[in-house]
């Protein structure tokens, strides 16, 4: 009996397979590999506009005789719709290939779209099985699509998406921007009290002189500063020093340069360059008279790099005073950032609320409701311990008298 059942079952299965072929198999040359995406909000119609970079594998093929190198490595397409999905679906009508999100590395949001709220885009990216949550989120002050249409070929990497990704991922080398991917954003949404930030991307004119002496200008992409969200809406921007202020607090500063006015005379206008070696930041919550107080402890170590004339490190106190000045610079950056976030944007991007809840769960329940009002006036104490650990291979500078 069971033999017959088995036989029937397996023959049906076999027939199904043979007749319908492979349901889900899509060859690689039938897929449009997206390498970068931009989302804008159209002013007049209020529609969502998507701009995509689609990789042309042929143009990237190595060692073929076809001379594919002449082709641009990506194809820029854009389309608009009443929602992100709508726009994407109408895109497929002129790509002829299935959109493949898995290799997409960056998502650039235009200012308008970000101000209206990024939640629907994030929701799509997390819900759909294609896109990855490791995709980087960038916000631009102008139109996001314009960045992708202006730049279709990278300078060092041929694909712009890869170049931009490396650019952002290397943020710690200067600590002037932040690294935020979709997972950071959605996990902050999930944790509730904390608001996300994102890297800021912009197009800048860079003038250069050609061979013939004629002057030309070229648009360059720059990732500098950060965008601040309140909830899922864009609230404002942080410039580079303020962004470093943010990074000091979260403890994400990697390397970077701190410029300090020399504490001795005769140095001219040359500042002392301090190269950041190591930094960490801790947020602590305290209770003072039933009110939460935040203490930020930042400790930093750096190395002297450029010393102006007249430096004499052997003199007692010189290094100490450099350290003090360094601490002041850091403190100022933190304060500038705090001022913007607390007073101007009223957005808890640091997770102060979370820290209070973590350490004082009972008190937190009382103030949870009015955290929005408490936060802008929250007392924040900043303690910086800045150290100079090394001077490179030289102690004092050697210069002609």
């Amino acid at each position: 009996m069971t033999k017959k059942v088995l036989a029937v079952c397996s023959s049906i299965l076999l027939f199904l397979m043979v007749s319908s072929g492979c349901w889900d198999s899509v060859e690689l040359d039938r897929r449009a590999i997206i390498s970068a995406a931009a989302i804008d909000l159209e002013d007049k119609t209020g529609r969502i506009k998507v701009t995509l970079h689609i990789t042309r594998p042929n143009a990237l093929a190595r060692g073929t005789d076809g001379g594919g190198g002449q082709q641009e490595p990506v194809w820029v397409v854009s389309s608009a719709g009443y929602s992100l999905q709508d726009a994407l679906k109408s895109l497929t009508t002129y790509t002829g290939r299935e959109l493949f999100w898995g290799d997409n590395r960056i998502l650039i949001l235009g200012k308008k779209a970000a101000e209206k709220g990024i939640f629907p885009f994030i929701d799509f990216m997390i819900r759909d099985e294609g896109p990855r949550s490791r995709m980087l989120l960038l916000v631009t002050e102008g139109e996001a699509g314009k960045i992708l249409t202006t730049r279709t070929e990278g300078k060092l990497e041929r694909i712009v998406g890869i170049e931009l990704e490396r650019l952002v991922r290397n943020y710690t080398s200067a600590s002037r921007s932040v690294l935020v991917d979709l997972h950071d954003v959605i996990s902050k949404f999930s944790r509730g009290i904390i608001s996300p930030v994102a890297s800021r991307i912009e197009l800048v004119e860079s003038k250069m002189e050609g061979d013939g002496g004629e002057k030309g200008s070229q648009k360059e992409i720059r990732v500098d500063g950060a965008a601040v969200f309140k909830g899922d809406k864009l609230a404002g921007w942080l410039n580079a020093p303020e962004t470093r202020g943010y990074l000091w607090i979260t403890g994400d500063v990697g390397r970077g340069v701190i410029l300090v006015k020399p504490p001795w005379k005769g140095g001219g206008t040359t500042p002392v360059n301090l190269n950041i070696r190591r930094a960490s930041g801790i947020i602590k919550a305290k209770m003072k008279d039933g009110k939460p107080v935040i203490v930020i402890e930042v400790s930093e170590e750096s190395e002297l790099e450029v010393l102006p004339r007249g430096a004499d490190l052997d003199r007692p106190g010189v290094i100490q005073s450099l350290e003090r000045r360094q601490a002041t610079v850091i403190k100022n950056e933190i304060k500038a950032c705090l001022r913007k976030a607390q007073q101007e944007y009223k957005s808890d991007i640091f997770g102060f609320g979370e820290e209070v809840r973590r350490q004082f769960p009972a008190e937190w329940k009382k103030i949870e409701e009015e955290w929005g009002e408490i936060y802008p006036h929250l007392e924040v104490a900043v303690q910086v311990r800045a150290k100079i650990r090394g001077t490179g291979l030289l102690v004092n500078p050697v210069h002609p008298e």
């Binding site: 033999k3 690689l28 093929a61």
Partner: protein, 531 residues
């Protein structure tokens, strides 16, 4: 599904099975009864022999009289299978020059001849023509003497054969070089020289109605499980066919699960390997006329073990073990994984690689599973061509195949570069484990088909399916996947790694393998202590 197939085939086999049940324990030549009885008359015996052998030119029949007694005698042997020198010097000369009065009593002629005349080490008295013929066919000489209804079988075996050479299939850099030959006796000697113990038992039997092939079952009495030995005897006895030309014939008859693609009977050409197996409680089956000795029970992990592992130092041996394990997976799964990943789950492919793969596949006319199938089949053709042709030509074939075909196919845009890479990888890795080459071809193709229909899901499904199948296999009652399934710690020391010898102090132990200590405990060497 496999089981279903199995049943279908079994059904076809029923008629054959029934008839095989009513057979005798030992196959015989089925001589007619009137031939079987020996006569006292030499002439009549000669006539019978001539009738049995027909006009075969190699049958030499020599009639002579013993000494001056006038008793007629008859010596029969096969030309080329017997040593003529021995026949002339040790049989004919003493008998013909016999001048003593040794034959007073005709009834005792044979006894006297055995005792005093023939200088041959092994003499057997037989009274059945069947045994006589058997002896002649083995290269012995048969001596008939008038007045006696018995014949003497004299050991004069000697024939041309290959010398002991380096085994072709199991080449190793370090370790004994000698390999088995086609001669049964030489083979058993090679084994006996490795294990000088009376516990090494050998039992003979004859299989094949026409070939009358000698079979020797070898085992070590204390170490082999008696039930397994009995099972081997039982299964071998039940093989009743007309010819056994190679141990491969027997292999298919004594397997536990004959429809499984996996081999559950091992074979070896190297006496040292056979000795090592016997010392772990296994049973060897020598078959006359082939250098390949069967070893049962055979476990899956033995495919991954090479005799040299045990002769070289453990670190490198362990590394190579791991690589063999990896190679086994690569050769089976890589085309399937490539197709599944590129057509179903490109998200799994690392980002940089994806674009390269996509670029390689642009403008290729075939879907990738077709590419893989074509290349897979082409590779098998090339391999077969390379193996069968004489060696110098074979190399030319592989050069043409590998270089020109691969290069031309990618240049013409028929096959993508990456696919050629994958197939090449498959090919190279398939040579790493020779004993599983045939299995891996089958598994590779089926995995490819299922992977191109159901993607990674299909491949993992298939993998688990194969695992269940492997778990259900037994070789002479021993679980095939031992010591992985069922798990055994002592055994695992010789699977993915090869533990140092002093650490493997126990033999493998499971149902069917007796286990036990093979060395004293605490043999790990340490520097001499300073006083």
């Amino acid at each position: 599904m496999l089981k279903l197939l199995l049943r279908k085939l079994r059904f076809l086999n029923i008629s054959r099975k029934k008839s095989s049940r009513e057979r005798k324990s030992q196959p015989s030549m089925n001589l007619k009864p009137q031939y079987r009885r020996l006569s006292e008359n030499v002439e009549s015996n000669e006539r019978k022999i001539r009738e049995i052998f027909g006009k075969s030119p190699d049958v030499t029949i020599r009639k002579f009289s013993i000494g001056n007694s006038g008793i007629n005698a008859l010596l029969v042997h096969l030309d080329g299978m017997s040593d003529l020198e021995i026949i002339n010097d040790n049989i004919l000369r003493p008998l013909m020059q016999e001048d003593r009065k040794i034959l007073p009593d005709r009834k005792n002629t044979l006894e006297c001849v055995i005792r005093k005349s023939v200088n041959i080490d092994e003499v057997v008295k037989v009274d059945d023509m069947e045994e006589v013929i058997d002896g002649i066919l083995m290269g012995d000489s048969a001596l008939f003497i008038d007045g006696s209804s018995e014949a003497l079988i004299l050991n004069t075996k000697s024939w041309e054969h290959r010398q002991v050479e380096v085994p072709q299939t199991e080449i190793s850099v370090r370790g004994p070089r000698e390999g088995f030959t086609e001669v049964l006796r030489v083979n058993t000697v090679l084994l006996r020289r490795k294990i000088k113990s009376p516990d090494l038992r050998m039992e003979t039997m004859k299989l094949g109605r026409r070939t009358r092939t000698n079979i020797v079952i070898a085992y070590i009495k204390e170490l082999a499980d008696e039930e397994i030995v009995e099972e081997v005897r039982r299964r071998l006895k039940s093989v009743d066919m007309d010819a056994v030309l190679d141990s491969g014939y027997l292999e298919e008859f004594i397997e536990d699960n004959p429809l499984s693609p996996f081999p559950t009977v091992g074979n070896t050409e190297a006496p040292d390997k056979l000795a090592a197996k016997l010392l772990e409680g296994r049973v060897g089956i020598f078959v006359e006329g082939t250098p390949f000795v069967l070893v049962v029970p055979y476990l899956f992990v033995e495919n991954l073990q090479v005799r040299e592992d045990y002769y070289s130092r453990p670190y490198f041996a362990s590394l190579i073990r791991a690589i063999r394990f990896l190679a086994l997976h690569l050769t089976i799964l890589s085309p399937a994984l490539y197709v599944a990943m590129s057509t179903f789950h490109p998200a799994i492919i690392p980002p940089g690689l994806l674009v390269t793969m996509a670029a390689a596949h642009e403008e290729i006319p075939f879907p990738s599973y077709m590419e893989a199938l074509i290349m897979g089949v082409v590779f098998e053709i090339l391999r077969e061509a390379g193996v069968r042709l004489p060696r110098p030509v074979g190399q030319a074939v592989s050069i043409v195949g590998a270089l020109i075909l691969g290069e031309a196919a990618t240049r013409a845009g028929i096959i993508s570069d990456t696919m050629v890479l994958v197939v090449t990888l498959t090919a190279i890795t398939s040579f790493v484990i020779p004993s599983l080459t045939d299995v891996s071809v089958i598994l590779r193709l089926t995995a490819l088909i299922i992977g191109s229909i159901l993607g990674i899901f299909g491949i993992v499904w298939y993998y688990i399916f194969i695992l269940i199948h492997l778990a259900s296999l037994r070789s002479f009652g021993v679980p095939y996947m031992y010591p992985l399934m069922p798990f055994e710690l002592q055994g695992i020391k010789d699977v993915f790694i090869r533990a140092p010898w002093w650490n493997m102090s126990y033999r493998p132990e499971t149902s069917g393998l007796k286990g036990g200590r093979r060395m004293l405990p605490g043999l790990r060497p340490s520097p001499a202590k300073n006083k």
